[in-house]
């Protein structure tokens, strides 16, 4: 069942001394549809509202106007735990206040599945391990998170996100905010390969935001061009990523061959 957004608008509440002024909209009039099993990339320059749109789609922010529906249900009014079981968000960077082992972090993903004083059981352990295996970090289970490389950390957080999502629900969506922004090329390729693997083999619906053209072009099945909070185009990369579109998106002159080989 698709994830769809209709006429989304959002502006951050004004902070500081003038609370009565209306703030500029970070996202306005955005309507998109994400099919089950798609790997969608929201592409745009910094400040275009990518992260905001991602948070709106994930239900972390409540839109000022418009709705986000998952399986026909409004994402922002869903109970937090239920939403957490269907939608998982992987932030750009994870900074721990204290050091945990990789397995502990994967197990933390099971929070929405447990009651207030309930302790993790074998089912939760299995889900955590499955997530670690899927991201190729199973052998790191007893390592401390702070000692991992950037790429390994990112994959562990993805594993925790996978453990968080219900296994049987077809309407589970994995959101990633700038998954490669802080990684070296080698780790970028690792994460890209992982995402494709999750998409191809486990049919996880993935929505990610990025400003990296190359990454979006090579990994995503569908691309949404976002500029100043508005959608410029949506569709497969081959169709959407034309030199004219790129020029308009990044406000640059482009004279290059298409980046995508099919």
């Amino acid at each position: 069942m698709p994830l769809s957004a209709a006429h989304l608008s959002f502006g951050y509440p004004p902070a500081g001394l003038r609370p009565h002024e209306a703030s500029p909209l970070a996202v306005s009039g955005v309507s998109i549809v994400v099919d089950h099993g798609a790997l969608v990339g929201i592409l745009g320059p910094n400040g275009s509202g990518k992260t905001t749109l991602l948070k709106l789609l994930a239900g972390i922010l409540t839109p000022r106007a418009g709705t986000v529906m998952l399986d026909g249900r409004n994402v922002s009014t869903m109970p937090a735990r239920e939403r957490a079981r269907r939608v998982a968000v992987v932030p750009q960077e994870t900074h721990l206040a204290f050091d945990y082992t990789v397995l502990e972090i994967a197990l933390m993903g099971r929070y929405p599945h447990l009651g207030p004083f309930e302790v993790e059981g074998p089912q939760d352990l299995a889900a955590a391990e499955a997530g670690l295996e899927a991201t190729g970090t199973g052998r790191l289970a007893s390592r401390m998170f702070q000692n991992l490389s950037g790429g390994e950390r990112q994959r562990v957080i993805i594993a925790a996100a996978l453990a968080q999502l219900d296994e049987d629900e077809s309407s589970r969506v994995l959101f990633l905010d700038e998954p490669t922004a802080s990684l070296d090329l080698k780790y970028q390729l690792e994460v890209a390969a992982l995402l494709r693997r999750l998409h191809d083999r486990q049919h996880v619906t993935i929505v990610l935001s990025t400003h990296d053209l190359r990454f979006a072009a090579s990994v995503c099945t569908e691309v949404i061009l976002l500029s100043a909070g508005r959608v410029l185009a949506q569709g497969p990369p081959r169709e959407v990523l034309t030199p004219a579109a790129i020029a308009e998106l990044y406000e640059i002159d482009v004279s290059a061959a298409p980046l995508v080989s099919t």
């Binding site: 960077e93 900074h95 702070q146 950037g150 802080s182």
Partner: protein, 330 residues
């Protein structure tokens, strides 16, 4: 490894505050150590024989005890400046206030154009400034009971009232001898002399150790200091220590705060919390609320007499109705 700037700065700030707190605690510890050290050092006050001088007429006194001495030896009219804590005799209310031990007002002192300033020997900053201003100084040191009369005589000589000072000192000595005679031959009960306690509770109890003015008064009044073996002027008595020393009499000294007799009884009843102490069981807990008790000045003999009466358990000793001294017997 990437470092998140915000988190790092927060940790830095946290560390700075931690360091400040460590220093703060360390300073407090140093102050305690200093206070203990000052109590422990037992150097006698330096008393140099002085040639009699011409009478001085503009005296500033930062010590309430000394102010009383000056008035007692007839030099009251020559006192132009007194401390913030002076209240006796009533004439001092009309004099200029110049601060106290911790906050002496140097400007006000010199504005009075004194020909003698009596200071605590520990007020080194003030002494240095007065020296630079070429003002004569008398350094006072709070010591034992016998030093009260010695100081009076020295001071009297210094300000040109030697004869009156000697007369007063002799009177005090005779009164003290009378008290000593009245307690001679009587049993000397083990006594805890308490001079500070949290109101309404048995915590933060400070007692006199075996050194100093309070201890001397207690011994003169016919009591044996239960903490006499501690070579310090004061110590905080823990519950364990009180139980171990098992005092037979508890004497609490307080300044006169205008408490009624009922209030004093209530405060004495707080000691029931330690009902196993011999003093509490036999009802020999006394709170004496009188300013004379805490000032090592010309009225010490009256103070000692008061204490002796309490120790003896007679409950009949002179009170000043105008000042409302309250005494209760538990």
């Amino acid at each position: 490894m990437r470092v998140h700037a915000g988190g790092w700065m927060r940790r830095e700030w946290g560390l700075v505050r931690l360091a400040a707190r460590t220093v703060h605690h360390g300073l407090l510890a140093a102050m305690v150590a200093m206070a203990l050290a000052i109590g422990v050092l037992a150097a006698p006050p330096a008393v140099r024989p002085l040639r009699p001088q011409a009478p001085l007429h503009r005296i500033v006194s930062l010590i309430p005890a000394v102010t009383e001495m000056l008035f007692a030896m007839g030099a009251g009219d020559d006192v132009v400046g007194v401390s913030s804590f002076d209240h006796y005799p009533s004439a001092v209310e009309a004099r200029t206030r110049v601060g106290g031990l911790i906050d002496p007002d140097f400007e006000r002192i010199i504005s009075l154009r004194p020909d003698l300033v009596v200071v605590y020997w520990t007020q080194t900053d003030l002494i240095a400034r007065l020296d630079r201003a070429h003002l004569p100084i008398f350094k006072y040191r709070h010591a034992g009971l016998a030093d009260v009369t010695a100081t009076m005589r020295t001071l009297g000589t210094r300000i040109g009232h030697a004869r009156e000072a000697d007369r007063e000192a002799t009177r005090i000595e005779r009164e003290l001898d009378a008290v000593l005679a009245s307690v001679a031959g009587r049993p000397r009960p083990r006594t805890a002399l308490v001079f500070g306690r949290e109101a309404g509770a048995l915590r933060g109890i400070f007692v006199s150790g075996g050194v100093g003015f309070l201890h001397d008064m207690l011994e003169a009044a016919g009591g044996t200091n239960a903490f006499g073996d501690v070579r310090q002027e004061s110590l905080q008595a823990s519950t364990e220590l009180l139980i171990a020393r098992a005092p037979e009499v508890i004497l609490e000294l307080r300044p006169n705060e205008g408490w009624s007799a009922v209030r004093l009884r209530q405060e004495e009843a707080v000691w029931k919390g330690l009902s196993s102490l011999p003093a509490v069981r036999s009802g020999r807990v006394y709170i004496l609320a009188d300013d004379r008790l805490l000032v090592p000045g010309p009225r010490v003999a009256e103070a000692v007499r008061m204490m002796a009466g309490a120790i003896r358990g007679t409950g009949s000793f002179p009170t000043d109705p105008a000042r409302g001294t309250g005494v209760g017997k538990y």
